[in-house]
Subunit: 259 residues, 2 copies
């Protein structure tokens, strides 16, 4: 038996999110199905970020256990032959049997993209939120920085979740402008349900002058979802990648050296 880690990129447009659900095709469901066929045993993957319907990924992480003899590094190549065009495994590697992608210290990075121009651009309709209103970019940049640090993000969490501890650490949150494309890049220890999309929606409210940059600390203090801005649409969000404090592959090397 071995545990294998996958780095998975996908265009989330045609999926009902990551997590298996009764109605609709999910990324997790497709991975389970194709891995089971490839390795000829029942495979169940565990994902690091259970992205919502329409959300994309460059580097989500999933792990699974297998008795198959295929070397872990070869699984990416074999699996990609079977996966649809909109899901591509970027890497596969062997990791310790007790390693869990959600129970280890990590830095997760997401990008939320806004396309700010008069008319939509067809090529970016699936991975950006189209906004035609004029936005105050300097104010949005100033507001973005206010999210950095360790805060109680209860105001930036969907009300439908029952998480006890809503405190998270944001290592960096910045808005970059590349012409008409605005990218909110945010790296943190972890994120609450819909947190990045609510931050993006709140920055939009700053952009249209409804919220001032200096209101952000006040909104955080209120610990009330209603104090923050709207939840920005899912399709503007991309999970960029996850960096683990201790890369699980390095633990394997230690194990190998010991034997």
């Amino acid at each position: 038996m071995k545990r294998v880690k996958l780095v998975v990129a996908y265009d989330g447009t045609n999926y009902c999110g990551w997590q298996v659900q009764p109605n609709g095709i999910t990324i997790e469901g497709v991975l389970n199905r194709e891995l089971s066929k490839l390795l000829k045993e029942d495979i169940v993957v565990i994902g690091a970020s259970r992205t919502d319907s329409g959300v994309h990924s460059y580097g989500n992480v999933a792990v699974f256990d297998t008795n198959a003899r295929m070397p872990a590094e070869k699984i990416s190549y074999a699996l990609n032959q079977r996966l649809p065009d909109d899901i591509v495994v970027q890497n596969s590697s062997e990791i310790p049997l007790d390693w869990h992608p959600r129970h280890c210290n990590s830095r997760k990075t997401y990008e939320y993209r806004i396309l700010n121009r008069e008319f939509p651009m067809p090529q970016r309709r699936l991975d950006t939120w189209f906004v035609y209103r004029k936005l105050n970019i300097p104010a949005m940049c100033e507001a973005a920085e206010q999210f950095e640090g360790t805060h109680d993000f209860k105001s930036f969490c969907s009300v439908n979740t029952a998480v006890e501890d809503t405190t998270r650490t944001i290592y960096s949150c910045e808005l970059k402008q590349d012409g008409e494309l605005l990218t909110i890049r945010i790296t943190g220890s972890g994120f609450l349900y819909n947190m990045v999309r609510i931050i993006a929606g709140t920055l939009f409210d700053v952009g249209i002058g409804k919220i001032a940059p200096e209101d952000i600390p006040v909104i955080l203090e209120k610990k009330d979802r209603k104090a923050a801005g709207p939840t920005a649409p899912a399709h503007g969000l991309t999970m960029i990648g996850i960096e683990y404090e201790i890369p699980p592959e390095s633990l394997m090397e230690v194990q190998v050296e010991r034997t």
Copy 2:
């Protein structure tokens, strides 16, 4: 009666190219259908670049005549309400009745994009040619420059076309690298059938060492399609825009001033 010019962006993935044809939906066909419904008369557009199936556009140009009273500048807004998400008119303007988008001196710009990495990236599967082989980028850059100038491009023209004069002027042809993304940007007075895709395929052959940069003038000299490289896949190609020597809108201003 007035003549209206449209600047049209589209994701060509789901279309059988620009030009109306008996089997399959085309950009031209959708524009004719939706303009006819909007303006309540039979509209037939004339396109500047009749892009192939799978080719994209940021700024193709089309014109049509109408008796409708709707101001030309408003047509883009009204038409976009009816068009599918993957076709968006970026601008509409009134132009002289005798102005034809293919009979005027212009500079057309195309980009051909290659994604050069180990595994495909789902988000770029529709607008880049995925190449996993290691490419010699400096050699490709050197070869790209060889296309600049006025040449007989017979070697870079699909054999199935009956064009008499195969001489064209390329104002600039350069390859830019942005990490894993290689963009061949080419501006010229006009292009033969499949010319940009054959240039891209030939630059690929340079990248893999099959053709040397100094072979390009020799291939041009041969005036034989077989001397050049393969035709690169359609979906890597995007028509960026068309700049007319005399912008037709400026001719309208002169007309208006005269009256």
